[in-house]
Structures are given as structure tokens and as C-alpha cells.
């Protein structure tokens, strides 16, 4: 990553020189309303700090989307570039990073990232600048957001909680799990799972107890001892950055025996897998871990192109191919493609013009042609058709608040860290769970 930073430093004078030359020679490659010069996708996310593992997943999405667009003529001849803007996972650092990103980049076409760590701080800033953003936050404050440039391609956090309860109630091949320990980090995002999970579990007659932990602590022995005294059948958890230490100590203090544990969709992540397997072993993760994720097929034209582009992106970011089954990477890839198609469809570089078109392309209109790649979308638009983009992560269904929902699947890991689907929750089951949660 530092390599990228140096490259950017070296690039700054070069870009400046090119801009001066472009200014002297007049506009080159201009294509009407779409303007000229490179377009920028800002990856506004934590690249350092406790959640440093999140930013790279989003950066990989951008690196994969860029060639999908650039290799097909770009956006009216304009190429997509990706740049990291480090929020450090802290609102106090995120707001200046967002302001700096906007102030210094007039070619910003979209922003991806903005996790629960910083979404509350940066979303209003990006919205005020009229830049479409695709945020990876499940915070409930965005369930009915009034920010028109905000888009969320994943369900609110509380649905992850319902998905985990769904594992207990409807999940296949496990003994009765009657006592559930909730072990979530003390950050706002993780704590949002606690109440809906508690409500839903109690509704189904389960005994549940909350054992919050302070993320980043070097040890959780006393907390683990306290949790073990409860004798849980299963643990619900999202404690990013501390899961390895916590679960390692559970195994240590439980006589070498790992307790079954269910993770949120954020635990479907190569960094999390590495963290936990480094302490409790790959075998234990394969045997005792269960998780929930959004329903992806990991197949089809769109996914194949996404996967191929991730491989290519390895020349810029060596870990990019590891994000082939990371939901957020898939969704943000689709978000960037949809934004590019919206620009082409409206023949405009003005976000106030192309932003509403994103939702239209995602949801489709009556008689719209379904497209799966940027090229297919481009061809259909040039043929004068209206389109519906169904991308690498599947179909999108934005509501009036720009929240897109899709169904949950019940998963586990294989020994290589790949996701294995074991079952899926039906819409009826999901409704029962969310009704039980009552939020």
C-alpha cells in the first residue's frame, strides 16, 4: 500500500504537468456532456487503524471495475481511476479526508466505502457536494435517509442479526442451540446487532445473554471466563480485529474445545479468516464457524468479468484476487458500473443529472433490457434501449430511501477460506424473524 502512496506522490507532478499541457493545447478527447480527462472514484474507507482490513476490500472493487469500463471505451472516452482516502475508521479523521477528497478532485464521479465507522460523518459531506456514494454501513440511521446521493446496496445491520437468529431456528445440521451468548465489539456498528438478536431469540424461546467486549484490548480472559460460566450452546459474534484473540482464549480456557459460533456477513472476509484461523486453527473454523451472508451466486457473465478483473488488479494490489467472494467488493463493483452507465445514459458529467439515473438502471423500468456488464449496458444504451443492470452481486432493488435489499444465505468456510452455502432463508422465514425482532 505504501507503494501505492509513493506512486501517487510521483503521479501528482505528472498529472499537474499533463493538466497544464491540456490547458495549453485545448480540450482533447472531449465528448459532449461527458467532459474529458480521467474520472476518479474515491475509496473513502479505513486503510489504517483497527478496521484497516475494510478499505482494501473496497479498493479491490474499484480496481476491478475500472478495466471493465476502461477496456470498453471508458465513460465517453474518459478513463476511471481509483484513489484511496484513509478515514482511519475514525469520524474525526474521516471528515477532513472527505473534505480534502472533494476539494482537490473536481473529476470525482462517485465515492465508495464509508463504513459504519465514519458514514455518519462523511455521508452529509459527500451528499452536499452532490457526489453519488455507495456506503457499506448497516446503521439504522440510513434506513430512511433523506440524502439523495447516498446509496446502500446491503441491508441494514439488524437484518444480519435476524440472519444469525435464522441459523439457530432454521439452519441445517446442528443440535438444538438453546443458550446463546452475544459477543459483539463495543463499537456502534457491532452493538446494533444486540437488541434485534435478543428480541428475536427470546421470541423463539431461547436464553440469551450479552457479553460485550472492548475492541482492541490485548486480552479478554476475564470476559471469556464470565461468558463460559453461562455455558452457551453457541456464540453470536462480530468483533472485527479482536475475534482471533477472543476465540483463541475461549478455546484455551474451555479445555481446548471451541464453542460453535455464528458470525455476521462482515466475518466473510479474508482478513477475519486469517485472524481467527491463526488462533483456533483452520479445522476449528471449518467445523465450528457458521455465518450469514447475502445471497450471491458467484457465477454468471457479470461475476466472471469481475473475477477476471480482480486477477488483473493484482498487478496494482497484490491481495485483490482474495476478495472474489467478498460481498462488499461485489456490491461496490456494481455500484461503480451503474454510475458509469448512468453517466452514459444521461450523457452528462453532472451528478445532479446522472444520480437519479443510477436507481433507474438498478431497478429497471418496464420493458428494460437486462444487462450484466458495462459493455452490454453500453451497447443497449447506444441502441436506444432502457436498461436494468444485474451485476456481479445479482439484482438490486432500491427503495425510496436508496436502500437495496436482497435475501440471506447460511454459510460456512472451507479450508481455503472460501464461502460454502449450506442453506438460504426464505422471504417468509426472514419476515418471521424480523417480526420477532420487532425493530
Amino acid at each position: 500500500m505504501a507503494g501505492g502512496r509513493w506512486r501517487r506522490l510521483l503521479t501528482v507532478p505528472s498529472v499537474g504537468l499533463l493538466l497544464v499541457l491540456a490547458g495549453c493545447g485545448g480540450s482533447s478527447g472531449s465528448t459532449g456532456g461527458l467532459g474529458s480527462g480521467d474520472l476518479l472514484v474515491g475509496v473513502l474507507a479505513p486503510f489504517s487503524g483497527a478496521d484497516a482490513n475494510l478499505g482494501p476490500a473496497y479498493y479491490a472493487a474499484c480496481l476491478a471495475a475500472a478495466p471493465a469500463i476502461n477496456n470498453n471505451g471508458g465513460v465517453g472516452g474518459r478513463h476511471i481511476t481509483c484513489q484511496k482516502f484513509d478515514t482511519r475508521g475514525e469520524p474525526a479523521d474521516a471528515a477532513p479526508a472527505a473534505n480534502q477528497m472533494i476539494a482537490s478532485n473536481s473529476n470525482l464521479m462517485a465515492v465508495v466505502g464509508c463504513t459504519s465507522d465514519e458514514a455518519s460523518a462523511v455521508a452529509p459531506i459527500v451528499d452536499k457536494a452532490h457526489i453519488p456514494m455507495f456506503c457499506m454501513t448497516g446503521q439504522s440511521e440510513f434506513n430512511k435517509t433523506k440524502l439523495p446521493y447516498f446509496h446502500r446496496l446491503v441491508p441494514a445491520d439488524i437484518f444480519d442479526a435476524y440472519g444469525m437468529v435464522g441459523w439457530v431456528i432454521y439452519g441445517p445440521s446442528h443440535p438444538a442451540w438453546n443458550k446463546v451468548a452475544l459477543v459483539f465489539g463495543d463499537d456502534i456498528g457491532s452493538q446494533s446487532f444486540v437488541q434485534p438478536a435478543t428480541n428475536a431469540l427470546q421470541h423463539f424461546g431461547k436464553t440469551v445473554k450479552n457479553f460485550p467486549i472492548h475492541l482492541g484490548a490485548s486480552s479478554f480472559r476475564t470476559e471469556v471466563q464470565s461468558m463460559l460460566a453461562f455455558k452457551p450452546d453457541v456464540i453470536f459474534t462480530e468483533a472485527l480485529g479482536s475475534a482471533g484473540t477472543y476465540l483463541g482464549e475461549v478455546k484455551e480456557l474451555n479445555g481446548g474445545q471451541t464453542i460453535p459460533f455464528i458470525g455476521t456477513s462482515a466475518t466473510i472476509d479474508p482478513a477475519w479468516f486469517k485472524d481467527v484461523t491463526s488462533t483456533i486453527s483452520v479445522n476449528d473454523v471449518v467445523q465450528f464457524y457458521r455465518g450469514v451472508d447475502l445471497g450471491y451466486t458467484f457465477s454468471g457473465t457479470a461475476y466472471d468479468e469481475f473475477k477476471a478483473n480482480l486477477q488483473t488488479a493484482a498487478s496494482t494490489f497484490a491481495n485483490a484476487p482474495k476478495y472474489g467472494q467478498r460481498g462488499s467488493t461485489l456490491h461496490l463493483y456494481d455500484g461503480i458500473i451503474m454510475t458509469a452507465l448512468a453517466m452514459v445514459a444521461t450523457n452528462s458529467k453532472d451528478p445532479t443529472v446522472y444520480n437519479p439515473k443510477i436507481k433507474e438502471i438498478a431497478n429497471g423500468t418496464s420493458g428494460a433490457t437486462v444487462v450484466h456488464t458495462y459493455k452490454e449496458g453500453l451497447d443497449a444504451l447506444h441502441a436506444g434501449k432502457s436498461i436494468r443492470y444485474t451485476g456481479a452481486a445479482g439484482q438490486n432493488n432500491f427503495d425510496q430511501y436508496n436502500n437495496s435489499q436482497s435475501g440471506y444465505i447460511l454459510v460456512k468456510y472451507d479450508a481455503q477460506g472460501g464461502e460454502v452455502q449450506l442453506a438460504s432463508l426464505t422471504p417468509e422465514q426472514t419476515k418471521k424473524l424480523s417480526d420477532a425482532g420487532g425493530l
Binding site: H214, S219, T222, S226, G241
Partner: protein, 294 residues
């Protein structure tokens, strides 16, 4: 009650880890007048060096020595090539704090592309669990406690009974006077950076081993607890740092047992604030090991 006793046992481990880190940190400040905020990053750099040695098949207990040696040399070099030139120019203490913060960021960001952001763990992270009543400790944790006690005794012996220790105390009390009395203060300071750097490296490996897994981001957490223990005991006082480590180590674990675990840091740092209000110089400021000899 049994949870409280278990928490006391865990507190012994926590205080051992904190003491190893805090004593080195506070000695750096007490003798060289340097608040080294890069201490946590040197700890984590040493932990990573031990990790790579450990991955090559070497026992973590031997790799730990490598980590300590690395910490010693790295700290010595940082002082020689960064801190000392600034101090010679008369940079004020606050300025030196900013310089050390810059060094901390440079180390962290310099390491990131090398070690990555993924968690790692030593091969010997698991060891046999021993139960003595309600106290449950692993063999690794018992070794860490014994190691910390041995190191604390060695530091005590060094400061109290050796010529070098007396020279350190003299340099800490009044460097100009010490120099005029024929003490080679520059050499003493070099040795202090080697010794405290070694402690820093050792503490980094021990903390990483105790944590089961660690990442590049763990350094900040290590620094905060070491800093808190050092300040609580009286900045610059090794015995104060030991006392501070005992208090913070035990209180964090005991408060997690009797109250909400997510507030254990709040309790520990609340006590730190309270002590600072009542006794701003720290618990042992007037009676520390680095007080003037004789």
C-alpha cells in the same frame, strides 16, 4: 467469587506484560528526558521480527531474544539518528513528543506494506492450561509472569547495585553535574537506549504472545497501557511504573469480573485521572529508583 479469583490470576498476567513495557518506557523518559511515543511501534516491530524468526522454525522463547535484540538496536538507532540531533539543537520537550509521534507514524506506515494488515500468531500460542483452584493459567502465562519478575529484579539490581546504575541515576538527576563529575553521560544514554529498547522489544513479543494474535495496529494499544502505568506510578520512575502496572493490570481484570467488561478500560483510566488529580506527580515521584544517589 470464583470469577473474581480467576480475574485476579489473569490480572497477574496483564500486570506482568504491562510492567515489562512500562518500565522501559519510563526509564527512557527518566534518564534521557524523552517521551518516546514511538515505543508502541518499536514493540510491534520487534513482535513481528520474532514472528518471522518463529515461522522459520525457531522456538518463540529464543525468537523473543531476537525481538529484544532488535528492539535494543532499533531504539538505539532511532535515538542516535533522530532524537539526539533534535535534542542537541535544543528542541523543547513538546517538540520532541511531536518528533516521536512522527517516528511512530513512519514506522507503522513503513511496516504496513511489509507485514500487511492481516493478523498473525506465534506457533506456540497454545500451551497447557493449569488450574490452581479458580485460577486458570497456561504455561506460557506462568512463564511470562516469572520472566517479568526476573526482569524487574534485574532492573532493581542494575539501578541499585552497579556502577552503571549509579551513573544512570546521576545522569537522570542532573546530566550537567554528572558530566562534570566525569561520568560519560553520552555513553550512559546510549546504554540506556539499548537496555530500554531491549525491554521494549521483549515486552512487544510478550504482549503479542499474550494476545494470541496481533496486527500492525496493535502497537497503539500497547503504548497506551504502558504510558498509563508509567504516568500513574510517576513519570520517569521505574518502581512507579511497576506499581502502575500492578494497579492497571489488576483493576482492568477485576473490574471486568465485577462490572461491565466493556467498561474495564474506563475504570482503569478513571483511576488514573483520579490519581493525577490528587497527586499530579504520580504515586512514587519522590521516592523513585532514579532519584539522586545518596
Amino acid at each position: 467469587m470464583s470469577l473474581l479469583i480467576a480475574a485476579f490470576g489473569f490480572g497477574l498476567v496483564s500486570m506482568s506484560v504491562i510492567a515489562l513495557a512500562a518500565v522501559g518506557f519510563t526509564m527512557q523518559f527518566g534518564i534521557t528526558n524523552m517521551i518516546n511515543l514511538a515505543y508502541g511501534e518499536v514493540m510491534i516491530a520487534s513482535a513481528y521480527l520474532a514472528y518471522y524468526v518463529n515461522q522459520a522454525g525457531v522456538s518463540i522463547w529464543i525468537a523473543m531474544l531476537g525481538g529484544a535484540a532488535f528492539g535494543a538496536v532499533f531504539s538505539f538507532l532511532i535515538n542516535r539518528f533522530v532524537y539526539a540531533p533534535f535534542q542537541r539543537k535544543g528542541t523543547a520537550l513538546l517538540g520532541m513528543v511531536i518528533v516521536s509521534l512522527a517516528v511512530s507514524l513512519m514506522i507503522a506506515n513503513g511496516m504496513l506494506p511489509i507485514v500487511g494488515y492481516f493478523s498473525v500468531a506465534y506457533r506456540e500460542r497454545f500451551s497447557h492450561l493449569l488450574r490452581i483452584g479458580a485460577i486458570a493459567l497456561t504455561v506460557n502465562q506462568i512463564v511470562i509472569i516469572v520472566l517479568a519478575v526476573a526482569v524487574m529484579l534485574a532492573i532493581h539490581a542494575l539501578l541499585r547495585y552497579t556502577r552503571l546504575g549509579k551513573a544512570m541515576r546521576a545522569t537522570a538527576a542532573n546530566p550537567t553535574l554528572a558530566r562534570n563529575c566525569g561520568i560519560p553521560t553520552q555513553r550512559v544514554i546510549d546504554v540506556v537506549w539499548l537496555i530500554t529498547g531491549g525491554l521494549c522489544g521483549l515486552a512487544g513479543v510478550v504482549a503479542a504472545l499474550d494476545s494470541d494474535s496481533f496486527t500492525i495496529a496493535s502497537g497503539a494499544g500497547f503504548l497506551i497501557t504502558a504510558l498509563a502505568a508509567a504516568v500513574l506510578g510517576g513519570a520517569g520512575q521505574p518502581y512507579g511504573a511497576m506499581l502502575g502496572a500492578v494497579i492497571i493490570g489488576l483493576i482492568t481484570e477485576l473490574s471486568a469480573a465485577v462490572w461491565a467488561p466493556d467498561y474495564k478500560q474506563v475504570v482503569a483510566f478513571g483511576i488514573l485521572v483520579l490519581v493525577m488529580l490528587l497527586r499530579p506527580q504520580g504515586l512514587l515521584a519522590k521516592r523513585g529508583a532514579l532519584a539522586a544517589a545518596g
